[in-house]
Symmetry: C2
Subunit: 110 residues, 2 copies
DNA sequence: TCCCTATATATAGGCTTCCGATGTATATGT
DNA sequence: ACATATACATCGGAAGCCTATATATAGGGA
């Protein structure tokens, strides 16, 4: 039986989902999480960068330095096949968790 | 704007929801969380008891020792009015959070 | 009789995950 | 000139949960 632990780990899923659409750099990821969640999910940069390094180390994303025309540097992250494989089980686990919490406490999406 | 932090804190909500139906002792709470969530939410007793003490300290629940006919003792927890008031905002926050995660990553309840 | 499981509470120690505060540096608008 | 936005980075710490362990009683099966 799949058991969904009670945990916050939704940040990783959010990042994977964003990078599944297109490669992004850190600062842009944070902005999109806030924007695309309607301002609900706030995510500080102090949380984001260590998270990205960890996901890079695991091989879920691959970061590469870019040099902008201005000469400025930034790190662009791309989803790897291994990272893409992580998504379905995470989606399933969160779905299960949500349904369970709904059954117990009546949490609704509406 | 209400911002839902990314956190696991669902345990407190689950406990409040169970105690809203009827007073229960710790061991029974853990059993019901597992049972009523279809085995999805697992919750170790080592997490549960400190949580109950904290909620008692905050005045959300009130624990009282019972002596069973067998002479055995156990602690029965009851929801307080203050505890009941915590539920609607928590439900709202979790609802917002799930909608946001659904928008971002496609987490579904179905 | 002895052991195993279930019931019931409790604590120590530690891990993961996230946040606040702070720092550095460049680009852009006013 | 100055404020704001962009962009990355780290330190320290808090929160929330788990593993392991301890204690003690009750009931069932070998």
């Amino acid at each position: 039986m799949i058991t969904a632990r009670i945990k916050r780990g939704s940040a990783e899923l959010a990042i994977l989902a964003l990078l599944a659409e297109e490669p992004l750099h850190g600062y842009e990821i944070a902005r999109r999480i806030e924007k695309q969640s309607g301002g609900v999910l706030r995510f500080t940069l102090a949380s984001l960068y260590p998270l990205l390094y960890r996901m890079d180390k695991r091989g879920w994303v691959r970061g590469a330095w870019q040099t902008l025309p201005s000469g400025r540097q930034r790190r662009c992250y791309e989803l790897t096949p291994k990272g893409r494989k992580q998504m379905p089980p995470m989606l399933k686990e969160w779905g299960l968790f949500f349904r369970a919490l709904h059954k117990l406490a009546g949490v609704s999406r509406a």
